[in-house]
Amino acid sequence: MKRLSLLIFLLAIAITVNAQKFMTKNGFIGFFSHTAMEDIKGDNNQVAAVLDISTGDMVFQALIKSFHFDRALMEEHFNENYMESDKFPKSTFKGKITNLSSVNFSKNGTYDVTVEGDLMIHDVTNKISTKGTLEVAPEGINANAKFNIIPEDFKIIIPGVVREKINKNLEVTVIMKYAPLAGK
């Protein structure tokens, strides 16, 4: 019995020690819509994200007002008419790398990963699954992914007058450069 508790105790310590968390406060999430009439590009490079390489858990958090556009008016419409960013200031993602075993964190290199999780935009949560890459580098971990979302899935209503200016599918790009989180 004594041994078992010791084992659990050691295991607990081992988990805490090995629970390596990586973080960034200036990750990039951008979206792009192309139509014959107009290209719309919104970029946010102040995304906060944490990756736990012991479990494969990953979370992102983006402030809607930190998305910036070429045209100030687009930015205003994005916040006021579509995202209602005063009501719903944040967008989050909580997910997990499903094939964590295929990544060797002790060896530098680029690995293909699949991520599944809950994406919350405009206070609506949808399950998404996407392929991406994880690059183990000397200074940290870089993560990249591209996937498509449909605004209507998140109850973002696009009226008829501007419908042909906004692509039905928005391409989302995620670029994270994580650094080890000290002390965690």
Partner: protein, 300 residues
């Protein structure tokens, strides 16, 4: 001992289940609270006749065309005022995100006008709490009418008038915004000695959003100077209208008792009365062009 190991187990299990929420908490602990600046207090740089707290952002050019028709009480013969049109054209540009300038020309007294507006305070919440937005507005107007008496010595300075305003606005919630506008108008030359050179007024205006793209606006200026001695019967301007936003355009439809579309005119020279039906229908059209792209945007 068994109890202790159970205790350990019970510690471990929740960690596994709530790992993502834990990470989210960790994220929140490590990110500083951001300042959330209020945006879009009003749809346009005008509430209706008068300026709103809004500025053109840096690099954006606003081309505005405004009309006020004749009064509704002129009847069917004048097509309720639509046979006569009074107009104002202006080009307005954001130099920085807090400073804008504009030039305009209106056929009311053949007036050229120029203004600057800069923002002093921005309403915000979060890391910095600021209940109101404050902007300072100043303008100069030059009327280019022929001199009424060309035989006497006329000075160019007699054509000038000046306006200073402090715009104080608060966006109370998504649909309701309110603005107070203490105003000062100085006219270098007035029609008769009964008319004061300096006018003091308090403006109040608000908007109520009916849908995401349509809002109901109202605006009133109370002039503090006694009106009974002036050479003309002057009324306080009251305007009621709708903002309609369609992509890059904002249309403002307006009913007002003043004909002029610049501060000097509608604050001090409104001769129409709502009570008598001297109501002008009109509209402002604003079209924004992006001359310089947003600097805050970075490309990866």
């Amino acid at each position: 001992m068994r109890k202790i190991s159970l205790l350990f187990l019970s510690f471990l299990i929740p960690v596994g289940i709530f790992a993502q929420d834990d990470l989210m908490n960790l994220l929140n602990e490590n990110t500083p609270k951001a300042i959330n600046y209020t945006t879009a207090t009003f749809k346009s740089t005008r509430i209706l006749n008068g300026h709103s707290i809004e500025r053109m952002p840096a690099g954006q050019l606003d081309v505005r065309i405004s009309h006020r028709f004749g009064t509704l009480n002129t009847g069917a013969y004048n097509f309720y005022g639509l046979d006569q049109a009074n107009m104002h054209l202006s080009l307005e540009y954001g130099i920085t995100n807090w400073l804008m300038v504009g030039i305009g020309r209106g056929n009311y007294e053949k007036t050229f006008d120029g203004f600057t507006k800069f923002s002093v305070l921005r309403q915000s919440s979060g890391a910095k709490e600021m209940p109101v937005s404050v902007s300072i507005f100043s303008s100069v107007a030059v009327n280019s009418l022929k001199w009424t008496d060309p035989t006497r010595t006329n000075y160019f300075s007699s054509r000038l008038s000046f306006v200073g305003q402090v715009l104080i606005a608060r966006k109370f919630n998504d649909s309701f915004s309110f603005q107070l506008t203490p105003s000062y108008v100085h006219r270098n030359m007035v029609t008769t000695e009964l008319d004061p050179n300096d006018l003091y007024a308090m403006g109040a205006g608000g908007r109520f959003k009916l849908t995401k793209r349509i809002s109901l606006n109202a605006e009133y200026y109370y002039m503090a100077n006694p009106k009974s001695y002036m050479s003309q019967q002057i009324y306080n301007p009251l305007s009621i209208g709708l903002d309609l936003e369609t992509g890059g355009h904002v249309f403002q439809f307006i009913f007002t008792n003043s004909l002029a579309m610049i501060e000097k005119g509608f604050i001090g020279e409104t001769t129409g009365s709502w009570g008598k039906g001297d109501i002008h229908f009109g509209f402002n059209i604003s079209r924004v062009f992006t001359l310089k792209k947003n600097k805050e945007k970075l490309n990866y």
